[in-house]
């Protein structure tokens, strides 16, 4: 693998960039692997990367039916944060954030982690109480959360509408200074490059048609490129996971919904933080290119179609303008939708399911991007050791039968 650096960039610049090689090998499937990961998004690629790096498992294949990073990894609002409520969640998302903090160096690929800080803004005393609860939960769990007053919030987001005709006036909120955004595609590509360099086969355009099970054990997968054997299979396919799990007779607590995101045309910098406003449910940041990146709630109707719906667009964008009336003159440039796998308690499912050797990493709902390094780290641990990492244990599928839900949405009062 050719190393990336300012020096190599300059050297290549002088010789016409002839020396750059493919970021990852275009592999064809081998007959058998030590482990197969279905889904070539951030979570799947990160799993493969950590399998090779942490556990020395290099006969690994990542099977992607489309192109690498083409699912929700490439269709989100790129926020990374760990401002969660329950200790289990904080441990999970902060593992991700800590890995993100070293990721560019680890992967030798600039994922452009911009820890510009995120504010969850409140507009009623009751919401401020919830923010207080979250900030304290974060501190107890050793994460940087603090309460921010209205004045400081307005200093950081000066265009927030604080006039008397505003529906909501900002009272402040929870601030996490380590939160921010990262370049989503770069995360997928960086992991793909790193994994491929260690010998992982990344196979694009390969659709899994069945899971092969013999005597209660997983033995491989059938694909449109033929049968591939492995006695350990990880599923990390977001909205496609229920269909895959069904091949092993496993039902999941998942409904799939479209989640839309929006990008405006680029303008000069005018919003330097990530902002989630509880009153409107809209969140927004401004990319380094100058575009506003905007997100909001789910579409109402369960679906597998990667298409947005007009009512949700109107709701999210009117929420944005309620916060920032001046943005009304900006134009919507792009809009897209990802199919997210939503679990009743808004927490992911990580762990074994069905036949021996089959492991899941799904149910991230609207929060998958920020968790990619942790999702990969934990699924790799499961695949390599056959048992949970202590951080993933609470997220096992068995929590539903035990009644031990981790209800972030209800616990924190915030839609995730």
């Amino acid at each position: 693998m050719k190393r990336y650096s300012a020096f190599s960039l300059a050297a290549e610049g002088l010789r016409g960039h002839r020396g750059w090689t493919p970021a990852w090998r275009k592999a064809k499937p081998q007959p058998a692997y030590d482990a197969i990961i279905v889904g070539g998004g951030g979570h799947g690629l990160a799993s493969a990367y950590y399998l090779a790096k942490n556990h020395g498992l290099r006969r690994v294949a990542v099977l992607e039916k489309g192109w690498v990073g083409g699912g929700n990894t490439g269709r989100n609002t790129t926020a990374v944060r760990s401002n969660y409520f329950y200790p289990e969640s904080v441990a999970l998302y902060d593992l991700a954030l800590r890995l993100y903090e070293g990721l560019s160096k680890d992967l030798n690929f600039n994922v452009m982690l911009s820890q510009r800080g995120m504010l969850i803004a409140a507009h009623t005393p009751m919401q401020m109480e919830i923010c207080t609860r979250i900030a304290n939960a974060m501190q107890i769990n050793g994460v940087d959360g603090e309460l921010m007053g209205a004045e400081e919030a307005l200093r950081r987001a000066p265009l927030l509408n604080q006039t008397s005709d505003a529906r909501y006036n900002c009272m402040g909120g929870v601030w996490q200074s380590r939160a921010g955004v990262a370049r989503h595609d770069a995360v997928a590509w960086g992991y793909a490059r790193g994994a491929s360099d260690m010998g992982v086969d990344i196979i694009e355009g390969c659709t899994v048609t069945d899971l092969l099970i013999e005597g209660g054990r997983i033995t491989g997968v059938a694909t449109d490129m033929g049968t591939i054997r492995a006695d350990r299979v990880g599923l990390a396919a977001a909205g496609a996971t229920p269909g895959l799990a069904a091949m092993a007779g496993v039902r999941l607590p998942i409904h799939t919904y479209a989640l839309q995101a929006f990008v405006s045309e680029p303008v000069k910098p005018m919003l330097d933080i990530v902002l989630l406003y509880l009153g409107t449910g809209t969140y927004v940041s401004q990319s380094d290119k100058g575009e506003l990146v905007i997100g909001g709630g789910l579409d109402r109707v369960p679906t597998h179609g990667q298409r947005g719906n007009l009512p949700s667009q109107e709701t999210v964008l009117s929420g944005l303008l309620e916060m920032f009336p001046a943005f009304a003159q900006l134009k919507l440039l792009r809009q897209w939708a990802g199919v997210v796998d939503v679990v009743p308690d808004s927490s992911p499912v990580i762990g074994p399911a069905g036949p021996e050797g089959l492991y899941l990493n799904c149910g991230w709902g609207t929060g998958g991007f920020k968790a990619i390094p942790a999702g990969g780290w934990l699924l790799a641990h499961l695949l390599a050791k056959g048992q949970h990492h202590e951080i993933s244990r609470p997220f096992d599928l068995d929590r539903f039968a035990r009644g031990r839900l981790i209800d972030e949405a209800a616990g924190s009062g915030i839609a995730h």
Binding site: A240, P242, G243, A246, R251, L252, P253, I254, H255, T256, R300, V301, P302, T303, H304, G305, R307, N309, L310, P311, D341, P344, F400, A401, R402, G403
Partner: protein, 88 residues
């Protein structure tokens, strides 16, 4: 904005409706004799199919629950009908 047809009120906009559950779920009874796993299966587990899906929806305007079959990918509504015994 999708259009769903309430069996009682006719075609209305999607915002008047609420998804209730996948169809065909039967509440295990007596519940107290149901295992934790079976109960969780009833409560939480779904098929989330790609393609035709049979579901229970409620038209919040009139309050009636009904069955809808629709394609979860194309979003075509294939059929809506009242719950059994509800459309006399």
């Amino acid at each position: 904005m999708q259009i769903f047809t309430c069996p009682f009120c006719g075609p209305r906009e999607e915002t008047e409706f609420h998804f209730a559950a996948e169809a065909g779920k039967h509440r295990p009874e007596p519940a107290e004799e149901t295992s934790d796993t079976d109960w969780a299966d009833y409560l939480y587990m779904n098929d989330a199919p790609r393609g035709p899906s049979s579901e229970v929806w409620v038209h919040m305007t009139c309050g009636e629950y009904f069955l809808m079959t629709r394609d979860t990918v194309t979003r075509e509504v294939l059929d809506t009908t009242a719950l059994p015994g509800r459309n006399e």
